[in-house]
Subunit: 131 residues, 2 copies
Amino acid sequence: MSDDESTIRDLVLRWAAAVHAGDLDGVLADHTEDLVAFDVPPPDDGVRGLDAYRGIWPPFFQWQRSGAVFEVVELSVTAGVDVAWAYALLRCGTAADLAAHPSNRLRLTLGLCREGGGWRVAHEHHSFPLR
Amino acid sequence: MSDDESTIRDLVLRWAAAVHAGDLDGVLADHTEDLVAFDVPPPDDGVRGLDAYRGIWPPFFQWQRSGAVFEVVELSVTAGVDVAWAYALLRCGTAADLAAHPSNRLRLTLGLCREGGGWRVAHEHHSFPLR
């Protein structure tokens, strides 16, 4: 694994830990001002910009605090010289959700750009398989 | 727009046209053997490899032939030296689907790598917003 892949892997795992912990600053720490995120629910054309992205988290944090998990079970990073992408599969749900459907996964894809000395997330796509 | 961004933009639009036309060779033309795709439906852990990816299309082509559209309404490409990603929003549905919910969008994210002289898709993520 290259140093960049390792750096991005750590970034994604820190982000996931911050999501589970309800740490808003941690969730936003490595994102661009103009990111475009396709979240699980609407808006249909995506969440545009860091302010809008900030707004999606409080209700999700409340749900996590009700006893839900947010656990990365697979993470793959492809890092180039200046652009990278990553995908991950996560266990995400309450104990009841996971008991009812143990194999269900949140699918996550990230698009990143090198900025200064580090990497920033400029695109995110979150979804569950549609049954 | 850089030459690489223009090349990838053309690749995605060719792929979308092939999806709508039911042209399986066209759909597969620019993908890696080991791609990982998160399709709208299960499998929960994704579609792994080109043979599995080939298998998802015949039922989708049949649905497109019933009168569904597959139209790119927004496409953004971020291309680096050797790695790139893109996201797109598409109108995707039958006339009845689109009449019932005009703003609904298929969200598409692609992860690409430069191979030889061209670009190949190594990751795809397709989803609709979950209501």
